[in-house]
Structure formats: C-alpha cells, structure tokens
Symmetry: C2
Subunit: 224 residues, 2 copies
Amino acid sequence: MKYLKETENPKVTVDVVIFTIEGAVLKILLVKRGLEPFKGAWALPGGFVKKGENLAEAAARELKEETGVYGAYLEQLYTFGAPSRDPRGRVITVAYFALMHRKKFKIEASSDASEANLFSVSSLPKLAFDHEDILEYALMRIRNKIQYTNAVWSILPENFTLGEIQNVYEIIWGRKTDKRNFRKKILSLGLLKPAGKMKKGFRQRPAKLYAFKTKKYVELKRFF
Amino acid sequence: MKYLKETENPKVTVDVVIFTIEGAVLKILLVKRGLEPFKGAWALPGGFVKKGENLAEAAARELKEETGVYGAYLEQLYTFGAPSRDPRGRVITVAYFALMHRKKFKIEASSDASEANLFSVSSLPKLAFDHEDILEYALMRIRNKIQYTNAVWSILPENFTLGEIQNVYEIIWGRKTDKRNFRKKILSLGLLKPAGKMKKGFRQRPAKLYAFKTKKYVELKRFF
DNA sequence: TGAATAGTGTCTTTCAGACAATATGCC
DNA sequence: GGCATATTGTCTGAAAGACACTATTCA
C-alpha cells in the first residue's frame, strides 16, 4: 500500500512555444530566467494561471507580454505534470504553441525575465525544467498540423506568394519539396484565395499574392 | 486594468472517458456522483491527482478503480480549465480517454460513486460539470486517431477476425464501410499479423484470426 | 543579357471507393 | 441443402510524386 495518498494543491502554469521564422530558419522565443530555480537558464515563456482566467487566456496573456502580439494562432499542446518537474514543488504546466510572423513583434524582456531571445530550433541551449520535452512535442505537432489545417496563417503576412508559403512549409518540415506538386496541393486544400495583387518591385518576375480565406481554425476531413 | 491579478492554487483532477463496445454499441462508463456538487448526476470517472503521482498514473489509477483493469490504451486528451467549470472553486481537469474490451472488466461502484454504469454515447443522460464537452472532444479524437494508429488494440480481444475489427471501426465511426476495401486498407497499414489460428465452432465458415504486432503506440506517417 | 524567381503540364504510381460472386463450416 | 459469415479482384477516378522548361522583371 502506498503511503502517498493525499491529494495536494499543485500550482498550474502555462508555457508557450512561440514559433517564428527569421532568416529562413525556424526559431522559438526563449527567456532567460531571472529567478531561481534555473536562474540564468533559458526557458519557454510562461507563468502561473491567474484567478478567473481561462487557460487559453493565460497563454494569450503570456504571448502578449512576451511579444506584444494578441491574436496569433494559439493551440493547446499537452499538459506536463511529472511530480519532480519543478524543484519548488508540484507544478503542472499546460503547454501551448503559437505561430508568429517575425515582423509583427518586438522582443523585449518582460519584468519576469532578464532577457529574451530567438533561438534556432536546431541549435538550442540547454533548457530549464522539462522544456526540451515540451518543445519536441510541439515540433511534432506543428509539423503534422499544417498538413490539414490553416494554422500557418499567423506566421505569414496578410498577403503572400506561393513561393513564400512554400518556404514556410519547408522550413517547418526541415525538408524541400517539389514546387509544382506543392502548388497543386496547397491550392487544392481550398484554404487560400487570390488577393488580386502582385508582389512587385524586386528584380525578378512579379508573383501573385494570396491570402487565407479565413483565420478561423479550419481542419480538413481525413477519412479512412 | 484588471483587478484579478493574483494567482491561485487550483485543484487538479483527471477525468477518464472509458470507451467500450457492448451489444454492437459504443458505450462509455459513467458514475453517479455520491457527493455535491452535482450529487446524483452522472459524470465521467475521475478524481484528484495525488501527491507524487504522474498525470498518466492518476488516470490509470482511476481506470483501475472503476474497471479493475490496468494497462489499456490510455491517452491524454485535453485539459479543461474554465474558471467556472466547478462550483466548488478553481478545478482544472486533465482529460484522458481509454479503450477497453468489455469482457476484461467488471463494473463495481467504487467508494467515491454510488453507482456506475455503461451508457450508449448516442443516448446519454445530462452530465455533470463540462463533461459533455469532454466527451464530444474524446469522440472526435478517437474517430480520427484509429485511422493512423494501433489504438484499437485494447478494445479487441487478443486475437480477432477481420470481421470483428471492422465492426469495431464501424461502431466507433457510426457508419458502415465496404468489407473488401476495409480489409485491403487495414492490412496495408501493416499493424496486424496473422495469429495462425482460426475462429471455429460457429455455424459458419471459420475465419482467420489476427493480432496486433505490438501494443506499443504506433503512429503511421502521413505526409503532404 | 544575366540574375532571380514565377509559373506551368504530363506521366506514372498509388490509393480510395464502387461493386458481387464463390467458399466453407455447421446445423 | 440452407444459413451465416469469410474470402477474394477489378475497374475507375483522384491524388501523390517524379520530373524541366519557359516567362517576367529589373539591375
């Protein structure tokens, strides 16, 4: 018979994996912890859920505090609750991930963190807590998710070329794909509409601009 | 400026949607609440996470307490944390779902619940808390998940015929599908192996028995 | 005219979906 | 023989994947 039978009052946090693309590289925002535990280590932005606050609201608040942006694509990822994941005691974290367009936000260290920075997901520092697990899970999820949803809308500008959206997919997947096949596929999903404008002014052939029909979450049917 | 800025110490529960098939109908296990709030109402089995206990362990413990079974397919579903979801105060619940073979468990009311029963998912009583939302989400997830994983292993006996596994899929999906196409597809997934035995002793042609190659979680690749 | 990217079509293979006749064991 | 279920193959249409050349702008 176990002797640890009592319940406890855990603390509950949200942590947010904020993906963005900078210099053709997939990056995430990390903050340097200003307090113990893991003081000085890099960690995912996050914090305690406040009174009267939904989990998604808490995640959106963290996102806003770190990037100044409200209204990006934000999805609950998974809840991590190993008893020893936080040395202060029982802390259960509900992880979210978000996709941000790099030009839409400024990086400013918030009051909680002494420093904030973007890191390429392919060369990260050692992370605090179990944040490496969270990130791994987030990468798996986003790589799958963009195949059958409109989730990438918030990592792109309002209007974009097919070349640009293809770059986003390739950067997230970490592999190249055929241009003709990609265009056929992305258009056949029916998520895009022509913006009726052209991207001009570069020394190359101008490209048609597209936009997402909606920024509301759309999930395409996949059946057996 | 908001005035509810303090954090709080929420309580954390796990709730488990236990799916099974009985009489060719998809059912879930519900317990009648013996205590307030929602005393006398039907609810998903669940309870507080205990000290030193993983979330998945807590879910497995609840599953075991309610059905006597340890080791079924069990997956974290989503975390529900609306501030008003529990009238007692802030309670965040991490929902799990499980698939059980009906013959492997007995229904016994546990100490927490005055009564436990299976209900068809198509004719449920009114549920306590936000458990209807949880169930809806679980149904969506399981209907998708069985298309590219071996999740159904624990709702089937060790060895089963292709007819039996087709029945399971049809019951979970709530629709019929062509026998020849189903067999082609399920075998092409590569998750099954012939058990080398036949299901005999019925007044009909004997059927080959199959088994899952593994009960470890397998997720098939789906790429663009 | 050269650099850079946009834009486009065909063929092959694979997979999904529609569709029906024969086989086997047991009563 | 009759009942009940098992087992099997073909055709068609859609989508995936391989593959290469021409078009346009601007420096």
